[in-house]
Structures are given as C-alpha cells and as structure tokens.
C-alpha cells in the first residue's frame, strides 16, 4: 500500500470526481451518485470523499459506500477515505439538471427545481414521465424506495414513480 497522501491537488480532485461520475446509484442505476447530489465533494487536506445520505435509513447507503470505495481504488486512490456528512441535509434540489433528465427518461417523475421548500401535498401535480400529462394523481406517499412516491397518470393510465419533493 502506498504511503498516505497528506493532501490532494486539483488534478487529483478532478480525477476523483470523474471516477465518481461513473458510479451509478444502486437502486436507480440510470443516474450517477454525482448527479443525484449525494457526493458533497472532495476534501483536499486531509483527503476525504464527503458523502451524504438521501434518507437517514436508506439501505442503499452501504452499497453506495462499497461502490465508491471500488471506484476510488480503481482510480488509484486506495488511501483516500469516505466520510459521511449530514449537514446541510440532502434535498431534491441537489439533483443536477442532467440527473433530472435521466430520471424522466427512465420513467421517474423528477421533482421540479426548488421543490424542496414544499411538501408533496401542496405541490403541483407531477408530470407523467411517459405522456407528459399533468392529469396525474398520488396513489401512495411511499414507493419502492424511501425517496419515491407512487403516482398514476389519468391520461395514459400508467403508474409511475415520483421522486418525493424533499
């Protein structure tokens, strides 16, 4: 094992972020963990990757840490540790524009930007990711993962997942 690095330079930081951009979310593999907004960044000294959970009890957290570890090791950063950070808490506003487009293409209605300030109850109806209709309805406030709710489209009659505005 190479000696521990005291600090990272800009080039190393870019290489790390590029490696992490290739790590898919384990439960929604169409989006990377960087576009999902749970990589808070790289701390240069002492070196660390800062990761924040979407939900406190999200069971994907362990899988994400394992995937990040693998990506770092393969990129040559075996001695750069992963640290969990809670503050500021993750909200859906941390999802990138590209991430929102990827979710929509995958069939998951992304939250509109700025939606974290609202609750789902008061939010506008979700846009059906399949036909684009706004004539949609919540079926269940909780879905297949902690971050999603179940909705259905009243125009094309397809059910879909909606990222909770959070």
């Amino acid at each position: 094992m190479p000696p521990a690095i005291a600090s990272l330079d800009g080039a190393a930081e870019s290489r790390i972020m590029a490696a992490l951009a290739q790590v898919p979310d384990p439960e929604i593999p169409v989006i990377s963990i960087v576009d999902l907004g749970i990589v808070r960044g790289v701390r240069r000294a002492p070196p660390a990757i800062l990761i924040t959970p979407t939900y406190t009890g999200c069971p994907a957290t362990h899988a994400i840490n394992a995937a990040v570890r693998t990506a770092l090791d393969e990129a040559g950063f075996v001695d750069v540790p992963i640290e969990q950070t809670l503050s500021p808490p993750w909200t859906t506003d941390w999802i990138s524009e590209q991430g929102r487009a990827q979710l929509r293409a995958y069939g998951i209605a992304p939250p509109p930007p700025g939606a974290a300030a609202h609750t789902l109850r008061d939010a506008d109806p979700a846009e059906c990711p399949r036909c684009g209709s706004l004539d949609t309805q919540e079926v269940s406030r909780f879905g297949s993962t902690p971050c999603k709710a179940l909705w259905r489209c009243l125009s094309c009659h397809e059910p879909f997942d909606r990222f909770k505005c959070h």
């Binding site: 406190t56 009890g57 503050s87 808490p89 993750w90 109850r121 269940s140 902690p146």
Partner: protein, 258 residues
Amino acid sequence: MAAPSPSRPDAALFDYLLRLGDDSLILGQRLTEWCGHAPTLEVDLSLANIGLDLIGQATLFLGVAGEVEGRGRDADALAFHRDAHAFRNCLLVEQPNGDFARTIARQWLFSTWQLALLEGLSTSAERRIAEIAEKAVKEVRYHADLAADWVVRLGDGTEESRRRMIDGLDWHWRFVDELFDGDPIEQPLVEAGIAVDRAALRPGFDATVGAVLEAATLPAAARPRPIKGGRVGHHSEHLGHLLAPMQYLPRAYPGAVW
C-alpha cells in the same frame, strides 16, 4: 447501568441521546412487524419506509451516544447488547401494533410530537444532535402527514373504521403525558441549549391533535391517568418480547457480520 447523575454533563447527554435513539429504534422495530402483513401493498410500503427512517435516526443518535459515552460501544452494541431495563424509550413506542387503526393512532401521536421535538433540536447547541435533527425533521414531517391522513380517513370513514380508530386512540392516550415530561437529567441540558424543554411542546401538540380529530369527526382527546416510566427504564412486558427477536442473532452469534 447506573443511573447517570445530573451533575455529570456527559452522563446526562449520553442518557438524553439514548432517549432520542431508543424512541426511534423501538418504534422502527415495531413497524417492521407489519412487513408483508399490512392491509394493502401501499400501506405495507409506507409502514416499512417509516420504520426504515426511524431505524436510520436511531443509528445516528445511538452512534453519537456511543461517542459521548467513550467506552467503545457503537450503535449496534447499544441496540443489541442492552437489556430492557437499560432502554430509555417512552412507553408509547413499545405498545403492540394491534390492528391497523391502533398502529396509525400510535404513529400519529408519536410523529406529531417527534416533529415538534426535532424542529426544536435542529438548533441544538450540540452540533451532532442539531445535524441529525435537521436531517430527520423532513422525514418525520412526511410521517406525521401520512398518519394524520389515515386518522381522518378511518375516523370519518365507515362505521367499522371509525370504531377501530376510536379504540386505537383510546389505547394510547394514557401514554401521551410521558412524552412531555422533562426530569432532573434533562434540565441542565435544556439550560445549556442542548435539549428541548418538553413541556413547552404541549400546547402546539394539543392544537394540532385537536384540529385533526375535528377533521376526522372524532371525539376530543381523552386525558386518562397517565402511565410513565420508560425514560428511567421501567417498561411494560411488551418491550422484552420486542427485544428478543431483535437481539437474538447478534447475541447468539457475537461478532457476526453480513
């Protein structure tokens, strides 16, 4: 475990963190008992997800408790290797699930109270508590909303759902007062801006509960003789029956990992 003395701030903080973590842990464990048994798939998902959020909170609070205690115990050690008398959760969360209406009654009372508690704790002078609270408050707002929706739906539903909702609430009213009890252990923490003055949360709770009951066309909140003791380790027999399956594996196979 000896009762911590209020004159030792770290012991008081440890105890306070156990109270926060154990509430979430025990209710989270209770909710997992519904997994695969709930009335509909959507409800099954809801209860499991709420349980997951609560167990996530518990992991964080108990993790900090272990750091404060400084004896090398982590969240798992505290969850799996303490006996019932060392748990500091309120009696409300250890109540058996009963039917769906009784589970919803417990969830609604707990989440409504916990939401106010965590809102207060999100500005705690203890940074680690504030960060967890700030994170969890958004999840708990969802829990409280969901439970209140069901109270209205069942209370203002059919004759049968209404009867069950009333029964479910009647089971739990006697455990509500304990939620608002402070004690000598917490007082110095309240004065230091670390803990929330529990009694101060009561008026807001009563107003919220009253409004939901009215929307649900249910009778006003009852105030029977309260039952307390969970915060100092005096639990009902239900807690041991909950802990037995939860703690069996790590005790039978010490050091087992996935």
